[in-house]
Amino acid sequence: MSGNGFFAMGGYAAYVWPCFALVIALLIGNALAARSLHRRAREEALRRLDSGQDRP
């Protein structure tokens, strides 16, 4: 890694890259989690409608 200036991060690679990887993973994860939360809430609402549990 020391041969490549950019990826070596001046000797701080072991600290810099985990930080960026963690935060980027968190951004992607939270966005996907929000979408699946909405999808599941939608399916659940449709099930409720079909079973007639809600007030008309």
Binding site: G10, C19, L22, V23, L26, L37, A41, R42
Partner: protein, 245 residues
């Protein structure tokens, strides 16, 4: 003063549709700004004269820390509106925001530890800044746990709101901790008054990331809020129309 406009605005069908329309308008600019900000921070910005390339952690650490507080502020304001005007949508906003804020707080603590180790020689110190940020994480987790422990939704909303509002005390403590107490943590890079303590070529990627994370939160909040509205809503007629049944 007449507040009917607020209640109309806060009606579930209106909010559900508005949140759906707004989400991409927040999400796409956030995505583009993050890509440009990362390139600026990792490639274009020169290394720091003291910290070398290690300072680049600021581009993910500072925005995460900023969001940990901004999301809490949003959550507490929404909770207060919910308590005072008895608007359920406001409680839904607070509930939708909390997990995102907790994740940003975790990110601020973790990237801070990864920055502290090479620069200070330690992952963690029990000083005011780090401890108050850890308390913020516990406030988020407490808010989430308290809500989920109460079966009745209205009671969960109110109890959670009280906790969120009381916890606001912690925000100025976090912000001013680096001035009030001795700490290893450096003071703010950006202050409202006075010049930033950073060169322009280092500063613009940071400003982009701060804006990007804020827009990102807005986008995620809109999607989570839609889910929250669907879970709470028991009025079948608009659900039928909205979901096409």
């Amino acid at each position: 003063m007449n507040w009917t406009w607020l209640h109309k605005f806060a009606s579930p069908p209106h909010a559900y549709r508005l949140a759906g329309r707004l989400a991409p308008w927040f999400g796409w600019p956030a995505f583009l700004l993050i890509v440009v900000g990362l390139y600026g921070g990792l490639v274009l910005a020169p290394p720091d004269y003291l910290q070398g390339d290690g300072f680049r952690i600021v581009y993910v650490h500072a925005p995460s820390a900023w969001m940990s507080m901004f999301v809490y502020g949003t959550m507490a304001v929404a909770a207060a509106i919910g308590l005072v005007w008895r608007i359920k949508l406001a409680h839904a906003v607070a509930a939708a925001a909390a997990p995102v804020g907790a994740w940003f707080t975790f990110a601020a603590l973790a990237t801070g530890a990864l920055w502290g180790q090479p620069m200070w020689g330690t992952w963690w110190v029990w000083d005011a800044r780090l401890t108050s940020e850890l308390i913020l994480l516990f406030l988020y987790l407490g808010f989430i746990a308290l809500r989920s422990s109460i079966e009745d939704r209205d009671r969960a909303d109110r109890a959670g709101a009280v906790l969120a509002i009381v916890g606001v005390v912690n925000l100025p403590i976090i912000h001013y901790s680096v001035y009030w107490w001795n700490t290893l943590h450096q003071p703010s890079t950006l202050t409202r008054f006075g010049k930033p303590t950073m060169a322009g070529e280092m500063l613009w990627p940071l400003l982009m990331m701060l804006l990007a994370f804020t827009l990102y939160f807005a986008a995620v909040l809109m999607v989570r809020l839609r889910a929250e509205i669907l879970r709470r809503e028991r009025n079948a007629s608009w659900l039928k129309a909205e979901l096409g049944r």
